[in-house]
């Protein structure tokens, strides 16, 4: 069991009930789509996993560690186990592709040699070795998202969380990214992908978690976007 949520609820101070009584088990190596309308609680769930938020009640355990009770000083080490990719890429505009990827290793205190080698490996994985000296503004949307994926994976995390990873991309590029994510999963990383893209979900027939008003209303092994 890689991820275990028990009885998790989250209420924001303004009274919004973002999550209600969530029980969830995800095994290592799973490919999980999280679907649901905006405001259903997908982003809150992601934030609980990387401990950007704490649940109001319930427990969150990742890779054997109680995320709720962990010391603040341990949070960075939890986050090194979880790569995160966003709809808007969040690349640093004044750094090249290679520097954006290497940044994740440098600020987590890796020696120079490891920074070089792991950066090259990640760039090769997302097929951007040729673009390594380009700046984000010189890249297409798909290339920017591949850079972000390389950065998320360069620390060799056990889990990759993608929040609407194809939301800003055209259909062709979307498939390019999805194929890349399938390869990432084949290499052993557990994937949690929040999406509104029905076509992809329906084509891949993977596990689907459907959130509605903060509750899991559907959890299917080989699910579709809509019941």
């Amino acid at each position: 069991m890689l991820i275990a949520l028990d009885d998790v609820s989250k209420q924001y101070p303004n009274g919004t009930e973002a999550l209600r009584d969530i029980d969830l088990r995800i095994d290592a190596g799973e490919f999980v789509f999280i679907v649901g309308s905006s405001g259903a609680g997908k982003s809150t769930l992601n934030r609980l996993l990387i401990r950007e938020e704490l649940p109001s009640s319930g427990s969150v355990v990742i890779d054997g560690t109680d995320v709720v009770r962990m010391k603040r000083s341990q949070v960075p080490f939890l986050r090194r186990k979880i790569g995160v990719v966003f709809q808007d890429f969040k690349l640093l505009p004044n750094k090249t592709v290679a520097e954006n990827v290497a940044f994740a290793l440098i600020v987590t205190d890796h020696p120079a040699r490891a920074v070089r080698e792991e950066t090259e490996r990640a760039l090769a994985l997302v097929n951007l070795t040729q673009r390594r000296t380009h700046f984000p503004r010189e890249l297409s949307g798909g290339e920017q998202q591949r850079t972000a994926i390389a950065r998320a994976l360069v620390n060799r995390p056990r889990i990759l969380i993608a929040d609407e990873p194809t939301g800003n991309l055209d259909p062709v590029t979307t498939w390019e990214i999805i194929k890349l994510l399938i390869r990432v999963r084949e290499l052993g990383t557990t994937l949690l992908i929040s999406t509104h893209n029905a076509e992809i979900v329906n084509a891949l027939r993977q596990r689907v978690l459907h959130l509605d008003h903060g509750a899991i209303v559907r959890d299917e092994r080989q699910g579709r976007y809509a019941a």
Partner: protein
């Protein structure tokens, strides 16, 4: 080493990312340190001046021409026994005249050739160990003026009194000004770092996301604050070095004494003090800024 390299490089980049703000805060720190150094040096100078004047403080007791030698000896012993007195010297009429002639040789406007009799009295020159006691000892002796042995008494404690007052006022005033400057410097540093944090908020967000420890997130800013302090100290020290020579020589010309011994030892102490103080102020300001603006 690796971390330190990263932190220093990031701090250096941060400093130059917003050069106007960084230079402004560096100069503010420099002005504060200059005031601090000026205050320290003035205080030292005044203390040295008080010390020199104190060592020169004397009471001169003029004796009646017809005082009996036994009474004079008795008076001398009484003065010598006072704990505030360092030394007592007997100057006869003849010795006093010799001295006067000596002075007259160097100052031709005093014509002493015509002096045939010796108008100067015998005297006791009393050297005091501490200026604070002048008033008491002179008061004690003044009571005996005109009673057969002591003809007159000359003291000059007012200069020392004034100097002591000036030193006190300068100490308090200097501390007040220094306190205000310290506040201004801290305020400017806190703001500089706040802007630096703001300029790098995207970078900080990514750092936290990929699992950088607080150490990596915070220390570049704290070191940037320390850089501001150290650069300020260097500017201040350069300014002091540039003006120290001329100021010292003009003081020598004006006061006839070297007010402070600006030896290499004192300069080294001052430099170490300024740099240490600057590091402390820069680091403290930045730490405060990081704590308030980098929460979560």
């Amino acid at each position: 080493m690796r971390r330190i390299g990263y932190v220093v490089a990031a701090a250096w980049q941060g400093f130059w990312r917003n050069p106007v703000m960084s230079v402004a805060s560096t100069l503010t720190v420099a002005v504060m340190l200059l005031l601090f150094a000026f205050f320290v040096m003035t205080d030292r100078g005044l203390q040295a001046a008080v010390g020199i004047l104190e060592s020169k403080v004397e009471l001169v007791v003029y004796l009646e021409d017809d005082a009996k030698p036994t009474d004079v000896l008795e008076l001398r012993r009484r003065i010598e026994n006072d704990p505030a007195v360092e030394a007592v010297a007997y100057i006869s009429k003849e010795q006093a005249l010799e001295r006067l002639k000596e002075i007259a040789r160097r100052r031709p406007e005093l014509a002493l050739e015509d002096v045939t009799t010796n108008p100067l009295p015998n005297s006791l020159e009393v050297k005091l160990a501490s200026a604070q006691e002048t008033r008491r000892v002179s008061g004690m002796l003044r009571e005996e003026v005109g009673k057969g042995v002591i003809y007159d008494l000359v003291d000059n404690p007012t200069v020392v009194d004034k100097l002591l007052t000036i030193t006190r006022v300068l100490s308090i005033g200097g501390l007040a000004v220094l306190g205000m400057m310290l506040f201004v410097a801290l305020f400017v540093i806190v703001n500089t770092i706040r802007i630096a944090v703001h300029a790098r908020r995207d970078e900080i967000e990514i750092m936290k996301l990929v699992g950088a420890t607080d150490w990596f997130v915070r220390w570049p800013f704290i070191v940037e604050g320390m850089l501001v302090g150290v650069f300020g100290a260097i500017v201040a020290l350069a300014a002091i070095a540039a003006v120290a020579g001329p100021v010292a020589s003009s003081l020598v010309g004006f006061l006839d004494i070297v007010p402070v011994s600006l030896g290499p030892n004192f300069i080294a102490q001052l430099a170490a003090g300024l740099i240490g103080f600057a590091l402390l102020v820069g680091g403290a300001g930045a730490t405060f800024s990081v704590r308030t603006h980098l929460a979560k």
